[in-house]
Symmetry: C2
DNA sequence: CCACTAACGGTCCCGCAGTTCCGTTAAGCT
DNA sequence: AGCTTAACGGAACTGCGGGACCGTTAGTGG
């Protein structure tokens, strides 16, 4: 799988290299949120980051590759989940977190752009999948706790439940429905909790 | 709102103009499904359609605009919904229809590309929203029938229920999860039905 | 502290997506 | 049927995104 010979940034990862990566990824995030994927110019990213455009082309090469690396960076920064003691409380906390992120002007645009990039490039799609796997795995324990408390059937698929909370929020974001408010978040959490209690997410 | 002076194709919509539109939209669909939005070349579309590339640039100008028109065309071709007599039956029929469409290699890629295009351009986003509004409105009656039968609370938001069926399927498609199978479709329908019965979609 | 070289960055260059020009075809109207 | 002109289509052009070259800067190991 790792047959590719070391690219730039792999042999001397310290100091300048790391600093350049950080500042370029940050600039890429800003540029994506402002202009969207279609108008993403790597030279513009380089300029925002006060870095030569050659550097950006050498290390990342394509917009998709840059977005993929951005996702790796985002996955590394995990925000700890809150525990409320009940399934519905935990799911609402999760839904509100997602809703707050997606309805934020900058972050929402960024996620849209990232998802668009993933549809164009397989490596980016892989990175996106890993990003969500990470996030879902962080929240899955609250479902297991609910199972232990007897709130949910024993064979409930925890990952599927967490995904079910996010799904309607992302669907709204992407199909351009009404703006995402806390009502939508709470509804997503409540619908998922009701479905889970009814056994809709037991493994078969 | 319509301050724009008539563009090409609006004054003589018959005969050749209509034929060109049909063949170009079809070619655009093929190209999108094969190469994705990022590698969509209008000259290539023109070539596939046996049409001068000048024509494509004059009438549509940008890839986003072409996709928007493609959506208008797709919204016009409605497939009739099936009626089974029960809420869960109707929702499963809807879920299976969506699942079949999205898991089809060509159609799935096409929808991905279209959603990506909508994230890049506001006019395309509007067209996408109208497309889904049309589709949702076609299926909403089955929820009203369920309310009349006493299966669901009176104030249940029909559109929200229909969207809830599609959401997890699209979420999987876009975040690159496991392939969409009939199990996923049935689960989406059952989860939505359970949540709806529990009153998660009553208007507030 | 010094040598070595990975990685950066300025400059020039090239291919092609997108545009312009103008002659040709056929839709719409009387 | 004939006239007008909307719309098409080939061909030549151009601006810019992306790449190549090479000198400069600064990590890394001794």
């Amino acid at each position: 799988m790792d047959a590719e010979q070391a690219g730039p940034g792999t042999i001397r990862p310290g100091g300048r290299t790391a600093r350049v990566r950080a500042v370029v990824l940050q600039a890429a995030g800003h540029a994506l949120a402002e202009n969207g994927l279609a108008h993403l110019d790597l030279a513009d990213v380089a300029h925002r980051a006060n870095v030569g455009k050659t550097t950006v082309y050498r290390r990342w090469g394509t917009a998709a590759s840059l977005v993929a690396d951005l996702l790796v960076d985002m996955a590394e920064q995990s925000s700890p989940r809150t525990e409320t003691g009940t399934l519905i409380g935990d799911l609402k906390a999760n839904a509100r977190l997602v809703q707050r992120t997606l309805s934020d002007r900058r972050q929402g645009a960024l996620f849209k752009a990232i998802i668009a990039a993933a549809t164009c490039d397989d490596r980016t799609a892989g990175a996106l999948r890993r990003f969500y796997d990470t996030r879902v795995a962080e929240w899955a324990p609250c479902v297991h706790q609910a199972i232990d408390r007897g709130e949910l059937p024993a064979l409930t698929d925890a990952h599927e439940v967490i995904r079910a909370v996010s799904a309607p929020l992302y669907y709204r974001l992407l199909t351009g429905g009404d703006p995402l408010d806390t009502t939508a978040a709470d509804r997503a959490a409540e619908a998922t909790a009701a479905a889970a209690r009814a056994g809709a997410y037991v493994r078969r």
